[in-house]
Subunit: 471 residues, 2 copies
């Protein structure tokens, strides 16, 4: 999928763009009966009956959400009380709302209720979402990035991501990709480096307590790109047969429960190509940090993503250019959403499942995801035009369906993006003014920071992206 | 999808099997700018800021799950406390664990904790899941159904479904299909009647407090079948372009949030063909009864279902016969799962999201869904062999991949089904012995009853199914 999200990690080496390598060992499935280093498979449904260590009873997160406001919001007599239900990493209890994390400035307002105008200023005012204050405490200069923003685009600049963290995430993600999951051959190394995983993740998750938390997001992002590259796009991908490939890969996230005779062949299959090795390993690490509801949320978002890939593939195969609204609907699924919605896991806390499922929260997440995804359409426009095949993206679809020039279609796509950003911020302001629940505020701020970090990464990734000459 | 689930509502009229009607007005999309009776679209994300009536503060469900057992189970200091967070139908508070529902016998053990041998007897003993006691109080004779069970199949017989309820569900579902969503033309009436929706739903949901609750399940089931029939199978379906059709239909369940200019074209699209009209309407009713987390769970299961359809379509298109484990993986997605997992909504209570997400509960749901789905493979075997095209189902895949005769492959498929049923019951017994939480017990019993009712419906639906001559 040309415009699929997240953007592909790897591009064709110069001069080979028209020669994808469908049989490359990285993407080529190996036979499931080939011996593999690990027998694979996600751990079998850990039994409920194996109690994991409880969080400390004094965890302030629960107290903070059980006041009258929480009761009003959730209309239940008991409040939320779910923050503490998911133990995390044995021996490493997370105290999401306790003393400020050393990586966060002590003045960060996210951990206390903020209502009224303050909430608007913090989370939804016309000047954006106050992301600057969410960055680590060490002295920071504003980012002076290479790369220009799309003219007219509504976005919020971010401070320069902590270079120490960036370098460490880059080092660790490369080690994981090469040593743990054998993700790509040496000749793709430059493309991997050109993705700037560390810059992306640190910019999007400034409140991650540790590098380990950042790595949870980094592995999933890289794995998502590997699946997109190898199954859908540049490296041997095709719309033909994609539904089968994606479903089998999805079982690395959402495990198979079948008759014993067939369980081991499935487990071995998860080692049989790079996308599945990456999904399986990234999910395994994620499950060390995420509670069951957070894992369920992620699986749901990934099912959405895979449905989006498959809709785009169907249109590619039938050479159908969708209506603009149809394209936007597809793009709500083929979407960055799985990345910002794990912001709480990466931040070391949990947005309770019942809050996450509220229609207002779902709408905010969808709007944020849609805005970030259109940022990708805008920055990758020239890259996609230069790629082989007819790539759908928003400006292309608008030009075709609304008979506009390329330039006017592009400018209209910018407008649509801005409209979504404004809607996102207005909904956040309305919700947080009415319901200043600490976990909710922190989660929404995390999503907003992800939106800004995602823009920053696109703007600065001149290795991948360049703007059209429309101005 | 030949073997896709839920089974298609409608079959070809005799003599027309080789002439599907892709342009039939029911399944043919109409232009989205055509005038429609309603402007359509799911209600826009109801704001969190509109408080809905709280449940009574004395709701015993919360109290019941906060004891030491709950704490041990969930490892959190606060227990669950989520049962009451979702208000339902204004003015109609549901008290899931209060006085026994009038429709249930007073002795039904689901509303009180049951541990040890009792739990085993109720939920996981070798004699099955005690479904008989879950049926309404009026005198019941054991069902004396037409149709024979598959020889050797492990299943539990059910009492005859209440004929009064069956007739009323049949009457109402037909009125909904014809008058509200214009689901099918008159000539398909016999096929619609031959699906026996009322018998199916009443057998599967004996604890539904009212016919209204049963109708929530009935509409969704019929809508799921309409999508399968019209997009995937008998009535104009095709694997080509299916990804686009399913995604656009999925937005009737999981709404689009986009720029205002394009929102209305999307809303109109939900009225533009029978599958989308049916999804939209059925979901709208469901949302009147389901809490946000229950709705989120259903959307997730439907995304899984659609991924399953698309995997099967991909294999159909590429004429790929999957390995047995691959088929079983696809069938875990192209699966009845969305039907049993709404058992709590249909029963008028809620399994809290954090319990539902527990790996042990997820495993149980998957095993139950897989067993019910293989029941369909077994009962629809001769029907699918007689249909045009090469239909995948478990016996066919086993015969091909393991070089067995048709008979031996069929018998092996029976064994696999039985293996899954035993695994399901063993996991239920283990979980409920360790954690006798009332909501969890009731939910698991609801799933088990659904499994039994689903078998009963297949066995008795001689209009659709007949057994092969292998014994």
């Amino acid at each position: 999928m040309s415009s699929s999200e997240p953007p592909p990690l790897a591009e064709h080496p110069p001069g080979t763009a028209s020669h994808p390598a469908p049989t490359h060992p990285v993407c080529r499935p190996v036979r499931v009966d080939e011996p593999t280093a690990a027998t694979g498979g996600l751990p079998h449904a850990p039994a409920l009956s194996s109690p994991r260590p409880a969080l400390p009873s004094s965890i302030p997160g629960d107290a903070a959400v059980t006041g009258p406001k929480a009761e009003r919001l959730l209309s239940g007599p008991k409040g939320l009380g779910t923050t503490g239900v998911h133990p995390r990493r044995p021996g490493k209890p997370v105290n999401p709302l306790g003393p400020p994390n050393p990586a966060l400035p002590s003045g960060i307002p996210g951990d206390v209720p903020v209502t009224g105008p303050e909430a608007q200023q913090l989370l939804g005012g016309p000047k954006g979402l106050g992301t600057a204050s969410a960055y680590p405490q060490r002295p920071r200069k504003a980012a002076d990035p290479v790369g220009n923003p799309v003219p007219g685009l509504y976005y919020h600049p971010v401070p320069e991501p902590d270079p120490v963290r960036v370098a460490e995430v880059d080092r660790r993600i490369k080690a994981w990709a090469m040593d743990e999951v054998d993700l790509y051959p040496e000749e793709w190394e430059e493309q991997f480096d050109g993705f700037f995983v560390g810059r992306y993740m640190v910019a999007c998750h400034p409140d991650a307590p540790t590098i380990d938390h950042l790595m949870v997001a980094a592995r999933l992002m890289v794995a998502e790109n590997a699946v997109d590259d190898c199954y859908c796009e540049d490296h041997g991908g095709s719309p033909i047969g994609l539904g089968g490939r994606l479903l089998l890969a999805h079982t690395a996230l959402d495990p198979l429960h079948t008759a014993e005779e067939y369980q081991s062949a499935w487990a071995r299959s998860l080692q049989s190509d790079a996308p599945r090795r990456a999904y399986r390993s990234a999910m395994k690490y994620f499950l060390d940090w995420a509670g069951p509801s957070q894992a369920d949320r992620y699986r749901h978002d990934m099912a959405r993503l895979h449905m989006g890939y498959l809709a785009e593939a169907a249109w590619t195969q039938t050479e159908y250019v969708p209506e603009v609204w149809e394209y936007l609907a597809m793009r709500q699924f083929n979407n960055f959403r799985p990345c910002p919605t794990i912001t709480d896991t990466v931040g070391g806390y949990e947005l309770p499942a019942d809050l996450q499922a509220q229609p207002a929260v779902q709408r905010i997440i969808a709007l944020a995801g849609n805005a970030t995804t259109l940022v990708n359409d805008l920055y990758s426009y020239t890259k996609e035009l230069a790629s082989p095949g007819n790539h759908l993206n928003l400006p292309v679809v608008i030009a075709e369906r609304e008979a506009l020039s390329e330039r006017d279609a592009y400018l209209k796509a910018v407008e649509i993006h801005n409209n979504l950003m404004h809607a996102f911020e207005a909904e956040v302001a309305a919700l947080t003014t009415a319901h200043a629940l600490p976990n909710l505020l922190r989660f929404l701020r995390g999503v907003a920071v992800w939106v800004d970090g995602n823009h920053y990464w696109h703007q600065t990734n001149t290795y991948r992206y360049s703007l059209p000459d429309f101005w």
